[in-house]
């Protein structure tokens, strides 16, 4: 199992009010799964993705990534886990505006101490693969939304993660560009068999996934 959740809960305690955004979720993802997470706004999709992406720890329940229970990990160990085994794509602000496309893509490799030549080579390859070969030296502001998202995907997979977390990756794109991004995700799911967990609002987007999970009020409503 890539991902295993058992009765996971997440509470946000802000002063007097306590919000329980995830209220007991049990879910597993096997290698090669492409899971779409759907549900109305505020139902807890993003919160669940944060937990699955080791950005945050659950308040209760068990959550393991490739068999490692994350509740027992220190902040440093969580960082290392993200750096080595996880990739992320979000709706906004995925790229660092002060770095070029290629520099953005190779960032995770450099951060884990890869050799500069090797990481630049791989970033170049990936840029080609996501169709940005001619844009490598550009800054994010000079790209279209779709190109930015593809660059973000390239960066998310450069270190060959076990799991890609995508939170509404097409939410900010027109349908044409959105389709291209989804195409790319689908392709990556096939080769090299990347496991993907993607939150989305739209049925069309969810349709390309191999499994659909519906959420409501912090709970899983149905699972396919």
């Amino acid at each position: 199992m890539i991902l295993n959740l058992k009765n996971v809960r997440k509470r946000y305690e802000g002063g007097e009010s306590v919000v329980e955004a995830v209220r007991g979720v049990t879910l597993s993802l096997a290698a090669g799964d492409f899971v779409a997470l759907m549900g109305p706004s505020g139902c807890g999709k993003s919160t669940l993705l944060h937990l699955c992406g080791a950005m945050d720890r659950p308040s209760e329940g068990e959550l393991s990534i490739e068999g490692t229970e994350i509740r027992r990990l220190s902040d440093d160990q969580l960082t290392a886990l993200r750096r080595q085994r996880l990739g992320f794509v979000f709706q906004f602000f995925n790229l660092l505006p002060t770095l070029t496309v290629r520099e953005n893509i190779e960032l995770p490799l450099l951060l884990s101490g890869a050799a500069a030549g090797e990481s630049a080579r791989r970033a170049g390859e990936l840029a080609e693969r996501v169709g940005l070969g001619h844009r490598q030296g550009h800054y994010p502001q000079q790209l279209s939304g779709g190109e930015m998202q593809r660059a973000a995907i390239a960066r998310a997979i450069i270190h060959r993660p076990a799991l890609l977390i995508a939170d509404e990756p097409t939410g900010n794109l027109d349908s044409g560009n959105g389709e291209k991004v989804l195409e790319l995700l689908k392709e990556l799911n096939r080769d090299p068999g990347l496991t993907i967990l993607m939150a989305t609002h739209s049925n069309e987007t969810a349709a390309i996934a191999s499994r659909l999970v519906r959420m409501r009020d912090g709970l899983i409503e149905s699972e396919g």
């Binding site: 960082t79 993200r82 750096r83 906004f92 660092l96 520099e103 951060l111 502001q141």
Partner: protein, 865 residues
Amino acid sequence: MKLFSKLFHQFILRHLVRERMRSIATIIGIALGIAVVLAIQMTNASSLRGFEKAIETVSGRTSLEVVGTGLGLDEGVVTSLGWLRSYGQVAPIIEGEAEARAADGRRETLRVLGVDILKDRSFREYNLLEFGAAEPTPQEFLELLIDPKAVVITEKFARRWGLKTGDEIELTFADRATRYRIRGLLLDEGPARAVDGNFALMDIAAAQWALGRLGRLDRLDVLLGDRKSLDQAEEEIRRRLPPGLKVQRPARRGAQVEKMLEAFHFNLAALSYIALLVGLFLIYNTVSISVITRREEIGTLRAVGVTRGRILGLFLAEAAGLAVIGCGLGLGLARGLSYGAVRLTATTVQSLYIATAATPEPLGMRQVLLAFGIGLPLALLAAALPALEAARVAPMAAMRGHDRLASRYRLKPILLLGPLVLFGLAWWMAGQPPVQGLPLFAYGSAVSIVFGAALLAPAVLYGLGRIGDRVLFKLFRVEGRLANANLAGSIPRLSISVAALAVSLSMMVAIAVMIGSFRETVIYWVGQTLQADLYLRPATRNNVATDAPFSPEVEQIVAGHPEVAAVDRFRNFDLAYADGLVTIGTGEFQTLLNYGSLQFKEPAEPEAGREAMRRAIGQEAVVVSESFALKFAKQRGDAVTLDTPRGSVVFRIAAIYYDYSSDRGILVMDRGTFNRYWGEPQATSLTVYLRDGADPDRVRDQLLARFGDQYRVFVFTNKTLREEVLRIFDSTFSITYALEVIAIFVAILGVASTLLTLILERRRELSILRLVGADYRQVRKMVLIEAGMIGAVSQAIGLLIGLLLSLLLIYVINVQSFGWTIQFHLPTGFLIQSSILILIATVLAGLYPARAASRLPATEQMAEE
């Protein structure tokens, strides 16, 4: 108004509280800037006021005084001035200094006034402890002072030293130590209040004897009857006085001293403004960052109908609020700093100019007005630009991300043109002459250079951003690349901090180069000029203003030592010239020519200089110091008219020599020439040349042994005098360094606060970094590299601009204010050391922002979307 205060509260105050680190840094910056300016102002005032107050309290009700030319007046001349009494009462005065010495080695200098007590009581109040508030009758007073070893000291001093009436006290006048008996204690009134109670009263005859000035007076105090107006009396007396005597008001002496200290004070004050300038950069910084980071909020306010004027007002109010708190704190700080500043300047003022009891002026209304009068308007001025920018924000800016994706920073040509114009202006101003003896244009030039450099900061950062990646990636790997990218992405925000730091660093560099050059020049000069083996001066002679000649016995002991080859008996004293004072010196030109050496400026060849000096012997000719020549625009061969006891005499300038011992002009004439006008001079210093092979240390010890307890003489060997010269030199500039350190501290505060702001502004980018796997160490390293880069860029600009400024200081400002030629010399060691220190300091300043950055959670970015 109500809306405004509500907006101010919600929009400005809350923001300031939320960003309290930066608010605090700004306030501290302003407080320090104001405090430094006030402290220097108070210190300058204190050295003057100490002197003026002493004059004022000692002169009592005196309306006019008759003085001689330089060395006081002959008692004999008084008999011919009987007519003076028709204007009012006349009292003779002799003044001097004595050193009190306790058994435990404690020493303090006392101002001694010798008076004719019968006549003097109408001029000054003398209330003795024994008599309570009532003044003793002349008879009673006379009895106190009839004994030539009697002295009356102040109750304040007696209390401090644990003395009472009837006790003995050892006083040294010039080189003679004698025990005196305390015959009375003055209450803290009248002249006793001068110089913090360090005051002693003696009978005039006893004082003349003690000071070694028999038959001499310093002045005649005149208390006018109410028959005539002061102006009229002064004019009439002036006309009737014989040549060599002058009439003046007591305050005149204060004005002369003020003139003398003017350049020193002006330069200190100018330096003190640097810290304030940097403090203002901080205000500018803070307000513009508030504006930059809140464009969206401002846009929202505009969109909901807040007028442009209100927006402008809000940001000006922010600046005013910060400035008011800063100025208030600065006032408090100033008092403390002024004690430090007084201590740091005391040696200079006392050894080079005047002896005054230096305690800083207490804080008064004047300082409060000054603090707010300078601080507030300047703060508003500094905030005006960013506040105007805020007022121009369009309601459209409310739209999220409106300018987030603004195109990358582009270098505007104005940013290169501006510095060019300013540097050109600086070049022109550097060539202008001084204004009334003050280098105003030169300072204008310095300001232009500084602003030019500040405008250059964005261009430098831009250039660095383009080439920095390669180097930093090599050095620091990915963190270096990120740091470089961050800097390149924040040029508008960073420029201000970099400029502020660069400006204060450039001042530091300039001053270090100037002082280093000056020091080398002085060392060279001392090496060339100080050729004698021993230098002697009486114990109480601390500066030129103290008339303390040697005892004949001391001179005999020195001249009679078998190993002494020659003695140059040197005498110098202050003489009124133009509005201020110059020093007249006289010695044996022939001895100097045979044994010593002067460094001549004109004529330049040493032999020609010596020849000119040889020919001046016996002539109405003087050899003048460079500072005299520059200050009064005199050339070799020009005439100088001096007041002598025999009236005005014209002297020709035979040669000009280098002298760094004092910035007031010095005129030296041969003893023979001097004798014709002032009479046989008593020596105030002895320059001793020993026979070949004599050991100066041994001769020194032998001389000191012969002087025993009776004569107190400082004997410097050539080596110790050189050390003494450098000690005074170094202490003169310690204040300069202290001011600089404060300015740099303020600038580094600015760097820290800017970094912190950038961190807050870059929250999202930071969380992306954390998300893709940067651990907190990497984030911290990145921010520290950024801080170090800011330090390095600033130091680089600072070095460059500092070198420019040092040229200005050395070749223009110094020449114009002090009249010194300084040879350029680069203190490389110091510059390298300070550069490393600055780098370390800025990296340390990055610690807090780095910690703040590394603590941001990885989920930050989503919370806002």
